[in-house]
């Protein structure tokens, strides 16, 4: 049924829009951008910040344009001296209860509140008054909560509940003392937080930021004793350019590699190589499980998803692939295979991973991802525990380091990843986007199952751009039922189906919307885009598909560097050594989440 049309005027211009349109949406059609703070197009309406107010003729009060739907004959005024003053006052009142530390703030130059204050014309502070005081929550490995910078827009509460289904955050208390925090004001590391970092991505200020790791990396680079190795996740190359003004979706692997060398890293490896390793191990695991169960096999690359599994669906833990993530596989191989090959003491290697993800900071500190390395100075047979990955940087942190070092990114020549752990197939490259792990798995599995080359390389039907896909893929005599989800609210739908007994074979879950390209550590969106913007995610994904399509090496099994690791070091996929270095285990975690 076609929607009724509503006629109204906005700033004197007649306009006709479908019934149910909000004033803000109607304005956008006319090229009028109403200032806003709590509003987010992909989250529920809250209408709490009041920044988007407009005048409506006949109403005795200003109306919030984000939540007010149009009516027949409505006369809207979006601009007048009074309305501009009212918006300015609202922003000024928000600033009044906000620290005055912009110049030393993580979001300086990238803060929606700062931008709003500038565009509203706040040039003086008229309402100096009492300011809220809360301690900084530094308990989590990934997410720092600074409630003094919170403007109570509630976007984090909504993204955590609506997109991620985690419901870790809520507004506690009342009035001036209201604070956004986990239940009982618990520390983040004692909450059901899965550390995906989407709260960081949607926060307009610095009330949520990642735990910084650059300090340790600078120190390691400056230490001549250490061999500092870096690896970069697939999705970094698709987004890093945004930090230097390149349009979203500009593949920037070459410049990124050169920048990393200039920063002083001794070797620049590619997490995509680890993705190829993951595919080989995972395909091997899948073939075994296709015969012996349990099915479905659920992917395990996304550490936010793994935390979600452990806290919200612990009974499904046996279904997760035991493969470590590509990041941890590369790190494990760097401190064993590569160290041995180069004759470097693995304890003198400092392993840095650049990830689109803040949960990777947590993954790197899980005790399962530590190596026991010989420490003869402590006595014969003694060992020390060393993390496979020493530090995880987000894309944002790397962009900052490059700027801090005075590197003109745009003028850099293209560089090549180092051998041997820098060679990747196109299947490894697409790991960074939704459906990518599934597509790479299907490329490998179809050959393994049928014993002949795959008749196709692209499985576009598994790219869950809308968040959730279910389909069947014929592989030999098997009709494989696959599910792909990104955003954990979508994942819940698949997991509940699994619990209800629906016979899936493989499920790919990525915690963040769009997959890693939309990770909690990715750059804040450039001008003209918003966080979670499907268009931004599509452009970043297209960069990865372009890289894949441009390669002749497109299957993980054909990666000669992977073959070499198995031939000279691990033996065969699924071998005891491969199990020890490339596989892991999971356990239920508390507090248990409510799904």
């Amino acid at each position: 049924m076609r929607k009724k049309k509503i006629n109204l005027t906005i700033d004197g211009v007649p306009v006709t829009v479908p019934e149910g349109t909000t004033i803000m949406e109607a304005c956008e059609g006319l090229g009028i951008s109403i200032p806003r703070l709590c509003y987010h197009p992909d989250l529920s309406l809250m209408g709490s910040c009041r920044v988007c107010i407009v005048e409506v003729k006949g109403m005795g009060f200003y109306m919030t344009s984000c939540s007010q739907k149009v009516w027949e004959g409505m006369e809207v005024q979006t601009n007048s001296p009074d309305i501009r003053q009212a918006r300015r006052d609202i922003v000024e009142l928000l600033l009044d209860n906000h620290p005055k530390d912009c110049q030393i703030c993580e979001r300086d130059g990238n803060c929606e509140l700062q931008n709003l204050a500038y565009s509203m014309g706040v040039r003086a502070r008229h309402f100096e008054g009492k300011r809220k005081r809360f301690p900084l929550d530094l308990s989590s490995h990934s997410v720092v909560r600074d409630s003094e910078k919170c403007v109570l827009c509630g976007r984090c509460v909504r993204v955590c509940a609506e997109i991620q289904g985690v419901h870790n955050l809520s507004q506690h208390g009342r009035g001036f003392y209201t604070v956004v925090a986990p239940a009982h004001m618990a520390d983040m590391d004692e909450s059901v937080c899965i550390q995906c970092g989407q709260c960081i991505a949607v926060c307009p200020t610095a009330a949520f930021v990642e735990k910084r790791s650059a300090g340790g990396v600078w120190e390691a680079i400056a230490n001549p004793e250490l061999h500092v190795v870096v690896q970069t996740a697939p999705s970094i190359r698709a987004a890093i350019g945004e930090g230097f003004g390149l349009p979203p979706g500009t593949p920037s692997a070459g410049k990124m590699v050169t920048a990393l060398r200039r920063l002083g890293f001794d070797a620049v490896f590619d997490t995509d190589f680890g993705a190829d390793m993951t595919i080989v191990e995972e395909a091997h695991e899948f073939l075994t499980r296709l015969k012996e169960g349990p099915l479905p096999m659920i992917t395990s690359c996304s550490p936010g998803w793994i935390s979600f599994l452990e806290k919200f669906y612990p009974e499904l833990i046996p279904l997760a692939s035991t493969c470590r993530s590509p990041m941890t596989m590369v790190s494990a191989l760097v401190k064993t295979y590569y160290a041995q090959k180069k004759g470097i003491d693995p304890r003198k290697i400092y392993m840095v991973a650049v990830m689109p993800c803040v949960a990777k900071k947590f993954e790197a500190r899980r005790p399962e991802h530590y190596l026991d390395l010989p420490a003869p100075e402590l006595g014969q047979g003694q060992t020390v525990k060393v993390p496979m990955t020493d530090a995880v940087l987000t894309t944002r942190e790397l962009i900052w380091m490059i700027k801090c070092y005075g590197i003109d990114f745009l003028k850099l020549p293209d560089g090549e990843f180092d051998a041997p752990l820098g060679l990747a197939s196109g299947a490894g490259d697409i790991f960074g986007t939704t459906g990518g792990v599934m597509e790479a798995t299907l490329r490998a599995a179809s050959e393994l199952v049928t014993g002949r080359p795959a008749d196709r390389l692209e499985f576009t039907e598994v790219r869950a751009v809308e968040g959730l896909r279910e389909t069947h893929v014929a592989i030999g005599e098997h009709n494989i039922r696959v599910g792909v989800a990104n955003g954990l609210t979508n994942a819940k739908i698949l997991l509940d189906k699994v619990k209800a007994g629906e016979p899936f074979h493989v499920i790919e879950v990525m915690a963040c919307p769009g997959g890693c390209i939309g990770g909690g550590g990715q750059p804040y969106p450039p001008e003209g885009y918003h966080v979670l913007d499907p268009e931004l995610l599509r452009k970043r994904a297209s960069a990865l598909y372009a890289i894949d399509a441009g390669k002749t090496l497109r299957k993980s099994y054909e990666n000669p560097a992977v073959e070499e690791v198995y031939e000279n070091f691990l033996g065969s996929p699924g071998s005891p050594k491969a199990h020890q270095l490339l596989h892991t285990h999971y356990a239920p975690r508390f507090p248990r989440g409510i799904r």
Partner: protein, 183 residues
Amino acid sequence: MNSPTCSTTDNWEHVQAISREALGEPLWRFIEECRAKDHPESHLISILHKVQSQYGHLSPTHLDAVAQLLGVPAAKVAGVASFYHFFRLAPRGKFIINVCMGTACYVKGADRIAARLMDELGITWGETSKDGIFTVEQARCLGTCGLAPVLMIDNEMHGQLTPDQVPAILEKYLKKSRSQTGS
């Protein structure tokens, strides 16, 4: 194909048992009744009322148990409990001291009475002394302005006070508490 549910990693029965134990049988049954209705989450406030009337306050353990058994996220349950003035998140003392801060008491020096009281107990408004015996709260007028300044301990009025009288009054209730517990 194996069953996707593996008992070794499933902790629901454990969590459920802890939650039931924290709330006790009658409350658990009440929550079960709420769950059987449409929109179980809409009964959250009435459940919290019942928990508070049974236990005197809402501890994180109680709130987590309600969250698990009702199936409402703990952040939401705790958010609701912390929003309403009626709900108490910390245990209250054996005796509730209401210091009248109404106009008449205030001009007669209620602030000095309050200051002495807090000094003696080492706590501030809304808090409970470490021994769990006294909770100090503000009252806005107890209707006994002729006796100003006043404080009310449980239902007993103490009027025309000076700060120096405060320690003796507290001692009286401490004695009462000791005789009640027999120690």
